[in-house]
Amino acid sequence: MTALAAPPTNASLGRTVRSEWVKLSSIRSTWWTALAMVVLGAGFTTIISGIAAGDIASGKSHDSPGEYITQGLIFSQISAVVIGALVVTSEYGTGMIRATLAATPVRSRVLAAKAIVVSGFLFVVGVVTAFLGYFGGNAFFRSERVGISLGDEHMLRSMFGAGLYMAGLGLLAGAIGLLVRHTAAAISIVLALVFIIGQVVQLIPGTVGEWVMKLMPGNAGPGIVVPVSFGDNMLSPWTGFAVFVGEIALLGLAGLALFQKRDA
């Protein structure tokens, strides 16, 4: 047996990040879920664009192609939530959290590494999804001579914004996962927040309802994904995203506080 080199004398975030990446990438479901994110996102964008292209070209619809070119990403949100939640909750489900914390006892470092790995991964997959959707959908718009270019206003923001938003959603799900420590609960809560509660709050009458809706994470966050906003009842893209990041940070800090305090 080879003798090990002297142990490192200082702990490093880099080692924890590498370790978390080995964890994330060595689970098959990570790759299936990421594939679902790409296929659903790019696929639906292509289909929806294909359906809309004719009407836009003939003038029957007054929408702009930009309203459609990232639409499929609505479905990709599910994958981001699943991956983000699992990074935290699968460790509780399997008892692996104890091995993780025995290997890296500084809990804030464990969370930082998880956040870096999951957000980096989702950013890349989100951007790939957005670009593939653009190429697929724009093929239809171009054939109807209403194509859009990546150089058009907001297009690049939208492509990379898709990655940022998916990364944010994953972090949001991970933070909720820290609070509830249960996979199904964490995923359900975040999906309900994004898909249901975000819409239901419209029913609150008056400007209160209007504001609550604007501020909901699933409404504030994705503004940076769409190049041409389809509603005017939204925060401006970067303002919305800042609100979204703030919400993630609050939940993340609450999760960190609990994580530091609770027995593993």
């Binding site: 142990p7 479901s29 890296t104």
Partner: protein, 304 residues
Amino acid sequence: MIRAQGLTKTYDGKNAVNGIDFTVEPGRVTGFLGPNGAGKSTTMRMILGLDAPTKGSVTVNGHRYASSPAPLREVGALLEAHAVHPGRSARNHLRWLAASNGIPTTRVGEVLELVGLDSVAAQRAGRFSLGMGQRLGIAAALIGDPPVVMLDEPVNGLDPEGVRWVRSLARQLADDGKTVFVSSHLMSEMALMADHLIVIGRGTILADSPLQDFMAEHASAYVRVKAPRSTDVEALLVGRGLDVTRVDDELRVQGLDAPAIGELIGGHGLFLHELTLVRSSLEDAFMELTADSVEYHARTEVAA
């Protein structure tokens, strides 16, 4: 070396571990013995900083576990719950552990070979049998080649060959000068594995002594005497101040060794049918010691 001082853990107002002090020394196998619910796993989790002590402290190699920059290089632990993701292969499980503590990946193959899992290293851990899972846990404990090895119920789920393997592994680690701390609820297992015993019951230390001393102190012995004229024999022995208990047709004698008892009886012209030294097993000793501190008694009698 592991040192606990006044270590206490309270869950919901109930003391799982109750102000215990102990030291686990290097170069020997220290058995941590106690019935179910005695507080063994809780103590081990506190050693690893997974559960925070309610009071008191515990250090490994002179400092808190959590203050080590690469703790897997200092302490390797097999925990009770299989801390493995079922969808990850054995090799990848060890890879992330290695990466987290700056341990070279070559070590992964070494420990896989050491525990005999090299041929199934690519299989998902979820498919592993109980025994294979246990071996993977032991591989994980050894990945950093640590001077302190802590195993919580390592023989659980192992077949006889596996049990023997764990025993010789513990021995070898101790012979290499490592600190080896092994928990079990089986006295018989500890009798074969440990050099030193720490017995815990209901969160309190009941004994802390070398195995030999523990055996001498707790495993009582008596001489079984069977004789045709047993009442005369009994009277004779009692007359000599010996401690005699009658159980059916046998006499259990304490206070003199077997040859002396035989000579005494023969010297009085009485016949003997049996003269045997009986050692009560360590298991009995352990049962006796922990009788008051067993958390969960099985009901063996039917209510009258």
